[in-house]
């Protein structure tokens, strides 16, 4: 008996593909793309195509487990009832001891971006005021930059790029991280459209572009200012600028006064001649689009970098132009009702916690908010009351955070650590209790993308593997247990139907966006939000002035420069002279590994021939890489077209007890507070030294 | 680079000795009528070796229980042909065995037929490795190497088996034959190495062999030492002591086994050269 179901890949990924899964007699046997989805067009990436193996993997944890001694690896299977008793007992004890729920902390992020996974937030809200991780390790600075410039964070439909006559890919590697955009780019090139790829290293996308421009890490903003300067000098400004922007004269003055092309060329590494040619081309070609990636804003000047690029787009008149714009991402299709998290119905979409992931319903609660990027550090500082219990969900902080020694210290201080996950991870090693969760083939869920406009429902295809449960079921069960032990102790519902809960999340806002009459209609298949394909089409912006803000009073009020000006990134020191860049690899999403068979034996440090020569290294030699945070051993691989002052270490699966983040501190990006409540993780500002090992 | 194919090493070397013995018996019989005892001994030992060899070959298969199917592609597969010939050789051997207990006329023609079948089996064995994909093998060398192994070890085995039963001149001609095989082997190897060197994979094979201590061990033990022992012995006209004969046989045996192992290990196929 064959059956098919609709699913959606729930990872933190541009593409958020719609999936059709096939079962035979209740066993998942294959997955394929859903042709109804016009962006992913019935095709899946290599990672999703491994899902069947993942669902039934031997390594998957199928039962609740408790660890006898953290890091001991001595796990024993327990019943759900015992697990729930342990959790509820700890919660009640801590709340009693401290008189409030602040010792209870939740650290959750993007392991599964499904809306029903917000049940975890809902559960914690139901406990009272708790401690929460807020912000994002990913894109905060850029989100704020676009919020300052445009008023909110929005991008065109990715298909809009198909109208472009010139495409600039700036610090984005879709060949590896957003592969469904590649056909559009390749077809554009076939039509003679020039695709220029700016990156710090020769990426797989760069290899397929018409031009590759190598930019010194962290200087993208200056390069954008250099282009803007040329546009001003050549008088190629958008003549309508005055009608929809604010502060352009001042910005132009700044360019004239402070930006020197020779200096710009020297710092960015792009020759003056190239800067001129590209700038003129960009200003004269209409429509021309820039797609800015996340990497360029993971610097201490990351927000400024993106603001400078936005400004460049505006000066040349590409903002609001069909096939133009500066595309970064969007969250407008995420206007779910938020009932699950316990949101106040009057809250605006932006403050609904969709971005901040923590709803603030001030009347009842005052959660203690810790930055997700400095979580361990800030949690250690909490004394009144201290953080005592930590629930990690959809995250692997012991692999993905910086300053891991602070995590070790925090673990020492915690009474109880619960982790819910599919597999053991670096973080589960520290946990006392492991709760097995379902995959997206085993529960209902609702998903939107931060890139395309499609929203859809994920149906359960198979029964949960082992005794795994969805986050929602876990949250209900915990609440049920709490109320059983101490009636009234948790305001979160104690049970329900997943499907009904899901339909409730499709509230009036969402129905309008999707053009649906009833929530049930979404069950028929993925739906594209009814936004016009071009962002800011009418050039009416959401900023306080309603204009594109070259000069932002809000930025100034937050202690940032009002205008996009050049702020240098951190520079290497003598002790640690090399920058470490850690781009995503095609086979992983952060620490979520897909092709287990390609697990590397060793870390591979990719060096340019220049760096290799400086350290007298050959391909295949072993090196020690270290800085004040930690050290890693690995193998050298020399490649052309890598930066001359950096080492590249892809986020690939490696057989190692140490994560690559052993080398990371927690430098913060300049922006992020405005929309996400905390600055981002400037992880490209990591510096190292290396030496040959014999 | 290939791998250590133990089942194949055992199978090819033993089957070649076995057939070498039969061919040797035929040779001796052509000169002087064979003594009954020698004939019986030769046939029995040859048969035991052949059976061990065939058994060993099964271990190479992922599914030995289905080995019978391997005879179904005579049209183009040398492996099918090899198996067919070895089965026929085995049938011939059964008849020889019957003859050794019921002496009757047709001895020589039966030896001749079994020898021919056996030699066809050896040639088929060798032809399996004549693959365009493996330049080091894609020539006549495998055929020569396999037949030389049969001639060399077959003759030496017969000398030892024959013992007192052999007339001095029979013994001498067998030893001369072995000596000849060694000289031809060395000559063939030099020729082989210089011809296959012309392409990258062949050169890699030669390079591998010449830099492998095992190869030099093989050349020293299996070629040079027996060559010297045989030359001295044959020249001095003295009778070889049994222990010298055993020594020569052991040296040559080790040499051939190593040689065969290296044959498999040193094979370099044409590959896709790309990353991943």
């Amino acid at each position: 008996m064959y059956q098919t179901h609709r699913n959606i890949c729930p990872r933190n990924c541009y593409d958020t593909c719609s999936i059709l899964s096939t079962t035979r007699n209740g066993i998942l046997i294959s997955v394929e793309g859903d042709p109804l989805h016009e962006y992913t067009k019935g095709k899946l990436c290599a990672k999703a195509l491994e899902d069947v193996k993942k669902v039934y993997s031997q390594k998957r944890i199928r039962y609740p487990m408790k660890q006898r001694g953290r890091f001991s690896g001595y796990w024993e299977r327990i019943s759900w009832d015992e697990a729930l008793n342990l959790i509820a007992g700890t919660i009640l004890r801590l709340r009693e001891e401290y008189g409030n729920a602040l010792p209870l902390a939740l650290n959750k992020y993007s392991g599964n971006f499904g809306v029903l996974h917000n049940a975890m937030e809902g559960l914690f809200s139901g406990l009272g005021s708790t401690t929460r991780a807020i912000g994002s390790p990913c894109w905060s600075a850029g989100v704020d930059a676009q919020t300052y410039d445009f008023g909110t964070f929005f991008c065109s439909d990715p298909g809009d790029m198909g109208k472009s006559q010139l495409i600039w890919l700036w610090g984005v590697n879709p060949a590896w991280t957003a592969v469904h955009q590649m056909p559009l780019l390749l077809n554009a090139m076939d039509r003679g459209v020039k695709v220029v790829c700016f990156d710090t290293y020769f990426s797989a996308t760069a290899a397929r572009s018409s031009h590759f421009i190598q930019v010194r890490p962290g200087t993208d903003g200056l390069l954008a200012l250099g282009f803007s300067k040329v546009i001003v000098e050549e008088n190629l400004l958008d003549p309508d600028l005055a009608s929809y922007s604010l502060g352009h004269e001042e910005f132009i003055q700044y360019l004239r006064r402070d930006i020197d092309l020779n200096h710009c060329a020297e710092i960015t590494g792009v020759p003056v001649k190239t800067i001129r040619e590209l700038a003129v081309d960009y200003a004269k070609t209409h429509p021309a689009c820039i797609w800015a990636g996340f990497g360029l804003q993971r610097y201490t000047n990351g927000g400024q970098n993106l603001r400078a690029i936005d400004a460049l787009g505006a000066l040349a008149g590409h903002i609001g132009e069909p096939g133009g714009g500066v595309q970064y991402g969007q969250f407008k299709t995420w206007q779910f009702a938020g009932q699950l998290q316990g949101l106040h119905p009057k809250q605006t979409p932006e403050s609904k916690g969709l971005l901040k992931s923590v709803p603030q319903d001030k009347e009842n609660r005052e959660d203690r908010l810790l930055s997700i990027n400095n979580f361990a550090e800030q949690a250690l500082q909490c004394s009144d009351p201290p953080v005592k219990m930590l629930w990690i969900s959809g995250r692997n902080p012991l692999s993905q955070d910086g300053n891991l020694h602070l995590w070790k210290a925090l673990i020492q201080k915690l009474d109880y650590i619960v982790i819910s996950d599919l597999f053991h991870s670096m973080s589960s090693q520290a946990a006392d209790l492991f709760l097995p969760v379902t995959t997206h083939y085993e529960h209902w869920d609702l998903h939107a993308s931060y890139w395309h406009y499609w929203v859809g429902v994920n149906e359960p295809t198979i029964a949960p593997v082992g005794e795994s449960r969805s986050d929602l079921q876990i949250a209900w069960a915990v609440s049920h247990k709490l109320n059983q032990l101490a009636p009234g102790s948790c305001a979160f519902p104690t049970g329900g139907e997943e499907k009904e809960t899901l339909l409730k999340e499709v509230g009036p806002d969402m129905l309008e966006i999707l053009g649906l009459e009833t929530p049930e209609e979404i069950l028929n298949g993925p739906v594209r939000a009814r936004f016009p394909a071009t962002a800011w089409e009418n050039r009416r912006f959401k900023t306080p002035s309603g204009r594109f803000e070259f000069g932002s009073a809000r930025a100034e009020a937050s202690g940032l420069p009002a205008f996009p000006v050049y702020r240098p990134p951190l520079s290497p020191s003598e002790e640690f002279p090399l920058r470490l860049l850690t781009p995503h690899h095609a086979t992983t999403i952060n620490s979520q590994v897909y092709s287990s068979e390609t697990e590397k034996e060793d870390f591979i440090f990719h060096l340019s021939p220049e760096v290799a020569e400086r350290y007298a290294l050959q391909t295949g030699e072993r090196v020690l890489v270290w800085n004040k945070f930690g050290k890693l051993e690995g193998i050298v691989q020399i490649e052309n077209r890598l930066p001359r002052e950096a080492v590249i270490l892809y986020q690939e699966p490696v057989k190692s007890n140490l994560p690559l983040n052993s080398l990371m501190g927690t430098p913060n990006t300049d922006m992020g507070n405005l929309s996400l409540g905390a600055p981002g993780f400037a992880l490209n500002e990591t510096f190292i030294n290396l030496r040959k090992l014999n | 680079m290939g791998t250590w194919e133990w089942p194949l090493i055992v199978f090819t070397v033993l089957s070649q000795i076995s057939i070498g013995i039969i061919v040797g018996l035929l040779g001796l019989d052509c000169r002087n009528q064979l003594k009954e005892k020698l004939f019986k001994q030769g046939v029995v030992v040859s048969g035991i070796l052949l059976m061990i060899a065939l058994l060993a070959s099964l271990f190479h298969l992922g599914h030995p229980e289905a080995a019978y199917r391997a005879i179904t592609h005579l049209g183009s597969s040398w492996l099918s042909r090899e198996i067919l010939f070895f089965i026929l050789t085995f049938v011939g051997w059964l008849y020889l065995l019957w003859l050794s207990f019921h002496p009757a006329g047709k001895l020589r023609s039966s030896l001749l037929i079994t020898s021919v079948l056996g030699l066809l089996g050896i040639i088929s064995s060798a032809m399996i490795y004549v693959l365009p994909r493996v330049p080091a093998w894609n020539n006549v060398a495998p055929v020569f190497f396999f037949i030389l192994t049969a001639g060399l070890l077959g003759a030496l085995a017969l000398v030892i088996l024959g013992g007192k039963e052999l007339q001095p001149e029979q013994k001498k001609s067998l030893l001369n034959w072995a000596l000849g095989c060694i000289i031809v082997s060395i000559f063939m190897f030099v020729l082989y190495a210089s011809t296959i060197k012309v392409n990258a994979q062949g050169a890699a094979t030669v390079q591998f062999l010449l830099s492998s201590p095992l190869f030099w061990l093989r050349a020293g033990l299996g070629w040079l030492a027996p060559l010297i022992l045989l030359l001295i012995g044959l020249k001095s006209q003295k009778v070889f002591t049994a222990s010298t004969l055993y020594l020569v046989f052991a040296l040559v045996g080790v040499g051939e086994i190593l040689g065969r192992a290296l044959f498999y290990v040193s094979a370099v196929g044409i590959h896709i050269s790309a990353l991943f």
């Binding site: 294959s30 590896w176 797989a204 290899a207 | 994909r133």
Partner: protein
């Protein structure tokens, strides 16, 4: 000549995502080790400029299949449409085909002690569908084609790529569109 189905791979469009490889695994749920299809990266030394170019190869359903010739159990057959089908049930795991194929496409499954390989999704082809790998390739770099004169006359269609064994050995039913180089500007 009779019909010969095969693959056309465009290195210019291929992004090396391994989607084709995984689609094959998804379709047949093969064990981890055997890779019926495999994505290779061309070596930089084979081109004048550094590349990140890939090609994807499964069984090439050769016109002159060495695997078929050497197989002692007739596990291999060549269909009317040129597909070289390996019958897993007949295979006895002698691994001769592994030695004979220049592309290492028959793959040994150590758990089953048998060989397996790409059968060009003939069950799908017979239903009029595309092979799973071809259907999955997002940039449409991998295509199912009929190998014939007309194809070989087409501009830019190559019979081999640097680093590949000579097509003379088995006459593989695969054609390539080779990588072009972008204009590269590096910092100096």
């Amino acid at each position: 000549m009779t019909k010969q189905l095969g693959f056309l791979h465009n290195s210019e469009k291929c992004v090396g995502c391994q989607g084709c490889e995984m689609a094959c695994k998804n379709e047949y749920q093969t064990d981890a080790a055997p890779r019926w299809r495999q994505v290779f990266q061309l070596r930089e030394e084979d081109y004048s400029l550094p590349t990140r170019m890939f090609f994807s190869m499964a069984c090439n359903h050769c016109a002159n299949p060495e695997c078929l010739r050497v197989c002692p159990v007739k596990a291999y057959t060549k269909r009317e449409d040129g597909i070289v089908v390996h019958d897993h049930d007949r295979c006895i795991g002698c691994r001769l085909c592994l030695m004979a194929c220049p592309y290492d496409r028959p793959q040994f499954n150590p758990a089953q002690k048998k060989v397996e390989k790409c059968n060009l999704c003939y069950q799908r082809i017979d239903k009029g569908e595309k092979p799973a790998c071809v259907a999955a390739c997002i940039p449409e770099a991998l295509q199912l084609v009929e190998i014939n004169e007309a194809l070989d006359q087409r501009m830019g269609v190559l019979k081999t790529l640097p680093g590949l064994p000579s097509p003379d050995i088995t006459q593989p039913a695969i054609r390539f569109i080779g990588p072009k180089q972008g204009k590269q500007i590096r910092r100096d």
